[in-house]
Symmetry: C2
Subunit: 344 residues, 2 copies
C-alpha cells in the first residue's frame, strides 16, 4: 500500500510556494542579470541585439482539458508554444515569465507537476524562468507565459516580407496535433459513457504526443544560421496552414498557390484521418497547434534547403490578385479559407 502525500498551498504560503516551485531553476543565460525575487527581472541586451517579446494566455476548458492533459505536459506545452513565437521571428528565446492561477482544489503536488514540465522545457530550450505571479482563481487553471528572446536586427523575419515568386516552405508534418486532439476527445466521450473502459492510445503515441507535448523548431532556426539563409516571411503554425498562410499573404500583399500533393502529412495522421472519415489534407490545412514553421524563401535559395529532411516546399507566392489557392492532386484550383481555432 502506498500513500499519496498531498500538501495544501496554505501550508506553504505564497512566498514559500514560489520558493518551493522555483528552487531547481538556475539561470543559464549570461544576458539574464536578475531572475525571480524582485519587483522586476533584469535582462541585458547582448551587443545591441533586438529584444523579442511574445505572450499567451492558456485557460482550462478553452485551451486544454485536464481530463486528458497530464499537468507535466501542460507545463511543457505552455512554454513551448511561446518559444515557438520567438523562433518564428528567426530569434532565440532566452527568458520566460510564468503566471499561474489555480483554484483551491489544486495541491502543491499538482503545481509541482506543472513546474516539472516548465523546468524540462526551460532545460530543453535553454531559457531562464525569470518571473511570474502565482495566485488563486475562482475556477480552473490559468497559465500566462511571456517569452523574451533576442535577434540581430537584420536577421528578424516578419510576416510581411513574402514576395511574388518566393517559395513557400513548412517544417515537419501537419495535421497530427489536430488528429491527436480528436483521438483524446473520442476517448474522453467513451470514458464518460462508460468509466470501465480504459483508453487505448498506445498505437497513437505520435498523434497524441503532437497534441499534448509539441516541440518548437529550435533546430531549424539554428540551421538557417548555419547555412546563412534568411526567410523572407515566417510564422509558426498555431491556427492551421490555411489560416496562417492567409495571414502572411495579407500582411505581405501577395497571393499564394499551395500544392496539395506536397503538403506533408505523416503516415499515422493519414491513416487516422481515414479512420475518422476525414480528408487528411483538410486536417493539415485547418487543424491547428502543429507549431511547425511556415516560411517563404527566395527561389534561388531552394538548393540550400533541398536536402533538409524536415523542410518541404509546398507552393509559391503569387500576385495578390491571384488570391490564396490550393492546386489539388486532380489539377483543380480551390480558394483556401481561414478556419483556424475559434475560441469565441
Amino acid at each position: 500500500m502506498s500513500e499519496i502525500q498531498t500538501t495544501t498551498i496554505d501550508q506553504l504560503g505564497e512566498f514559500g510556494l514560489i520558493d518551493h516551485l522555483t528552487r531547481r531553476f538556475k539561470l543559464i543565460n549570461p544576458t539574464t542579470a536578475k531572475g525571480i525575487g524582485d519587483d522586476a527581472a533584469v535582462i541585458h541586451a547582448d551587443n545591441g541585439k533586438r529584444i523579442l517579446v511574445s505572450t499567451d494566455l492558456l485557460i482550462e476548458g478553452v485551451h486544454f482539458d485536464l481530463m486528458y492533459t497530464p499537468l507535466r505536459h501542460l507545463g511543457y506545452k505552455a512554454i513551448v508554444v511561446n518559444l515557438s513565437d520567438i523562433y518564428a521571428m528567426n530569434g532565440h528565446p532566452k527568458q520566460v515569465t510564468v503566471s499561474i492561477a489555480i483554484s483551491s482544489r489544486f495541491t502543491v503536488e499538482a503545481l509541482d507537476e506543472i513546474y516539472e514540465g516548465i523546468y524540462h522545457a526551460c532545460q530543453a530550450y535553454g531559457v531562464d524562468l525569470i518571473g511570474g505571479d502565482t495566485t488563486s482563481s475562482s475556477k480552473g487553471l490559468i497559465i500566462s507565459v511571456t517569452a523574451i528572446g533576442e535577434a540581430e536586427d537584420e536577421k528578424i523575419v516578419y510576416r510581411n516580407g513574402a514576395k511574388e515568386g518566393n517559395l513557400i516552405c513548412v517544417t515537419g508534418d501537419l495535421g497530427a496535433a489536430y488528429l491527436g486532439l480528436q483521438l483524446l476527445e473520442r476517448e474522453k466521450r467513451l470514458f464518460l459513457e462508460n468509466p470501465e473502459i480504459q483508453p487505448d492510445l498506445d498505437d497513437q503515441k505520435y498523434l497524441v504526443g503532437r497534441q499534448l507535448k509539441p516541440e518548437a523548431r529550435k533546430e531549424i532556426i539554428e540551421y538557417f544560421e548555419e547555412i546563412g539563409l534568411k526567410p523572407t516571411a515566417m510564422m509558426d503554425l498555431s491556427d492551421g496552414l490555411s489560416s496562417d498562410m492567409i495571414h502572411i499573404c495579407r500582411q505581405s500583399a501577395v497571393g499564394c498557390e499551395l500544392h496539395e500533393s506536397r503538403i506533408p502529412v505523416s503516415e499515422d495522421a493519414y491513416n487516422q484521418a481515414l479512420t475518422f472519415n476525414m480528408d487528411p489534407i483538410t486536417c493539415a490545412l485547418n487543424g491547428g497547434e502543429d507549431y511547425e514553421l511556415l516560411f517563404t524563401i527566395e527561389s534561388e535559395d531552394e538548393t540550400k534547403i533541398a536536402n533538409h529532411p524536415y523542410i518541404s516546399v509546398i507552393g509559391q507566392i503569387t500576385a495578390q490578385q491571384e488570391g490564396c489557392m490550393l492546386l489539388t492532386k486532380g489539377g483543380n484550383r480551390h480558394k483556401i479559407t481561414a478556419q483556424g481555432w475559434k475560441h469565441f
Copy 2:
C-alpha cells in the same frame, strides 16, 4: 429614449476584435521597433541599457469585483500596477503586453471600456501596447499584463541593498486604498440587502479613487534622477507596509525600526478608519494596494528629500538581530508581522 448598442465578439471575429481594440494605440517610444501584429514584438535596448520585465495576473473575484469596479478603471489599474513594479526598480516603463480572457457575457462595448482605461494609462505613462492575446474564459474576466522597462545598469535598485543606518522612506500616504476597498465592500453588502439603496460615496472620492484608480510614482523616479539620488533598496507597496518592509529586511539581511508617528495617513483615511472602528496605523501597515514606493537611502542623503512634499522618512534600518520593529507613539516597541493580501 436612448438605445444602447451592443456588439457580440462573434460579429467581429478574433482578428477584427484585436484591430478594433488597438486601432487607437500609436507607438510612441523610439525603442519600440514593432508592436502588435506579428509573432512577437521587437524592442531595441537603448544604448546598452538593461531591460526590466514584470508581470501580473488579475482575476475577477480574486483581485477585483465587477460589482463596483468600472471596467475603464480596471483597465487603467491593470497597467498601472505593473508599471509600478518597473518604477520600483528605479526604471522607466516603455512597453506593455495585455492578454485578456473574457466569458461570452462580455460585449465588444465592455471590452472597449477596458481598453479605454488601458489607453489612458499608456498615454499618461508614455508606454506602448506592443502585444497580447485575446481569448475566451470559461468564467469571469482575466487580465494578464507584462510591463517592460529600461534602466541604466548602475541605476537599478534592488530589494537587497538596505544597510544598517539607512533611512526608510515612503511616498504619499498609506492605508487609503484599503479603506476605499472596505467602503466599496460595505456599499455592496448594503446594495445586496436592499437594491433600492443607492451607494453614496461622494464624500469618499479620495479613498475610493485610491482603490479603483491608483497611480504609479513616475514623478518620484524622475525626481531621483533630477537630484541624483539612488536609493539603496526599493519596492512598491502592494501587499502593505509591514509585509513589504519585512521583504526588504529579509533580502537585505537587516532589521528596521518604524516610527508610528511618522507613518503618513491622509485625513480622509484617518477619519474613515475611526468610523469603521479600526486603527488608522493598522490600516496603513497592513492594507495593501497603495502602490506607493518604499525605499531606503543613505542617511547623508536625507537633505536631498527633506523638502519633498510626498516623501516621508518613517524610520531607519537596524542590525538584523534587532528584528522588524514599530516604535509606537506611546514609546513601546512592537514586532511587525506580515499580513498582506492573502489570495489563497
